[in-house]
Symmetry: C2
């Protein structure tokens, strides 16, 4: 097990904002998820979009060159599109360098690191701009201490990966704020970090430091402040459960919200692994989470009902709520069920 | 969550053997733990020791210069001592370079990387020798698959860190071999890796790859072959539980042996954290471990009784065995209780 070093402890990543969104020459809306997520959840931080040609997908935000965006106050350009290989194609380089020359830092969540491309590193160094790779965690993350921190915390957990934990945490943080509650969304994945303007990429942290990373992600706060933390992976996932447990222990949540997709029966990509029941999922999180916060409780269920009609979704949320004795809502659909979920999280 | 790359999947580290043990100019036996561990558990792989002066602590092995050791077949020199800062003092450099010049690779488990020292990197490059830092995990570890592997596996787990998991796994592997069973000790920490001549430093693996690392550590094997795997951390530890869960899931143990130190009541260094009971520890491991191996069972308890007299230790093992309905033994003391533990693991 690792020792703590004598260097000052790390803090979570913080990003220069507001953003210009870079869409490259992408034709495929499915690859522009990051740009759409930023538009939907951090629209006030997005000054505009920059496309390399007319056929490129659009977010509907104003089209600006890097120089125009900088004149309007933009501090960075975010790569808002992915491609299947996770790399930066040669056709993007001139546009990325143009942003550096206009005074913007570059932000990327892709697998290929910006700093590994000499065509970008050289102008960035010459111009004094930053190349920020969101997948690179901060240096010198401390070992977890297990010390109870002040303030309130909610963690979105799940029966599986990729079923709405980020969306749920964002919607709950937004719902809390709408009620006048002092709340922060705390991001643990690439897109979430861009939306929040900071956070820690939990999946890229060395395993010994997982809980410590979660601890610095949601530091001591005022007694009535809420951190609403994006979950990662699942305690039931054959590859990622360790990340989920480190995040659960380090987050010390007072409240968990369990996320699930209606109809999903197996772990995504692992057909041999049946998903746990909602009750099993609640029980295991409360048992393990009570190690660092004995007062942990379940606030309710966030059900992704995107494959159902509105009527089917309402009926399912109502019957599941009756069965489990907890609020069950789809935050995308909102409405009274979601308000009841918020009520119970705050109860 | 990370994607798999297209590069060939990693394999566990393998080390050039036999070893010459380097003791530097160390005066403090407590700092020579690695050298003593290698002498005790891999004595047939240790050709001798190399000390910089007469006051240096000794393992009792033949004293050889690097050239003499190389002539006797040594392939590498292992740094067998630590110091409080985890760094390599200037007084060692000439001796380390002497080993490179004699044709030996260098192996270190220290925090400071050998390859970061120009005084070593330059001669190693010039002479074509390897500088092997055990704390650096292999590149390109795959994401866990959860696929059930052939062969049998035993994992030493614990109520806490630093109470005998490595020793327990080594003793069980040795006990299995003494019965003619085909068994391998699988190492997950620095000293264990040197003893085994290979393994994976689980604490240094990026969290998303913990289970995948455990999977490649104990690959498919013959149906009656046993991998006896060194555990790390504890599911109840506020900092390290994520590592322990990734290792549990990826190891897919058929049998766990729970390690505990008699009299320890709190997590080492975390006085606010009471240790779980043995029954709680067994239950949680079986519940979580059953996710990747539904046939998981507990083979017994390995009790570190180093602070007790022989009579007290025997009485405690007997009463705990009666209470839990499982074999309880201290592998350091061996004897019939330990043979019963081996019996039950193989049952």
């Amino acid at each position: 097990m690792n020792q703590q070093s004598n260097l000052p402890a790390a803090e979570a990543i913080t990003l220069p904002q507001p953003y210009l969104l870079f869409l490259g020459d992408n034709r495929e809306p499915g690859y522009a998820k990051t740009a759409y997520g930023l538009r939907d959840w951090a629209g006030d931080l997005c000054i505009g979009e920059y496309k390399l040609d007319d056929q490129t997908t659009t977010t509907g935000l104003p089209q600006l060159t890097p120089a125009e965006a900088a004149a309007k106050g933009a501090k960075s350009m975010v790569i808002g599109v992915a491609n299947s290989g996770g790399f930066i194609p040669p056709s993007w380089i001139a546009g990325l360098v143009e942003a550096l020359e206009a005074g913007l830092d570059l932000i990327s969540g892709m697998h290929m690191r910006l700093a590994d491309l000499p065509e970008l590193r050289e102008p960035a160094e010459r111009l004094g701009r930053r190349l920020i790779d969101i997948r690179t965690p901060p240096r010198n993350i401390p070992i977890g201490t297990g010390r109870k921190r002040t303030g309130k915390r909610l963690l979105a957990v799940g029966t599986d990966c990729a079923l709405g934990k980020k969306y749920t945490a964002l919607a709950i943080a937004r719902g809390f704020k709408a009620r006048g509650i002092d709340a922060d969304f705390r991001a643990t994945g690439q897109t979430g970090i861009m939306i929040a303007g900071g956070g820690i990429p939990m999946d890229a942290v060395v395993a010994d430091f997982s809980a410590g990373a979660a601890e610095i992600l949601s530091p001591d706060a005022a007694p009535d402040h809420w951190d609403v933390i994006e979950g990662q992976g699942s305690l039931f996932h054959p590859a990622y459960a360790g990340v989920s447990l480190g995040l659960l222990h380090g987050s010390q949540p007072d409240v968990i919200v369990v996320c699930h997709e209606a109809g999903r029966e197996h772990v995504l990509g692992h057909p041999g692994y049946v998903l746990p029941s909602l009750q099993e999922t609640i029980d295991l999180h409360l048992r393990l989470g009570s190690r660092t916060n004995p007062a942990i409780r379940c606030g309710g269920i966030s059900l992704n009902t995107s494959k159902l009609s509105a009527e089917e979704a309402d009926a399912l949320c109502a019957s599941e709520s009756e069965r489990l004795g907890l609020p069950v809502a789809d935050p995308v659909r909102g409405g009274p069920a979601f308000e009841r979920l918020l009520d119970n999280c705050l109860a």
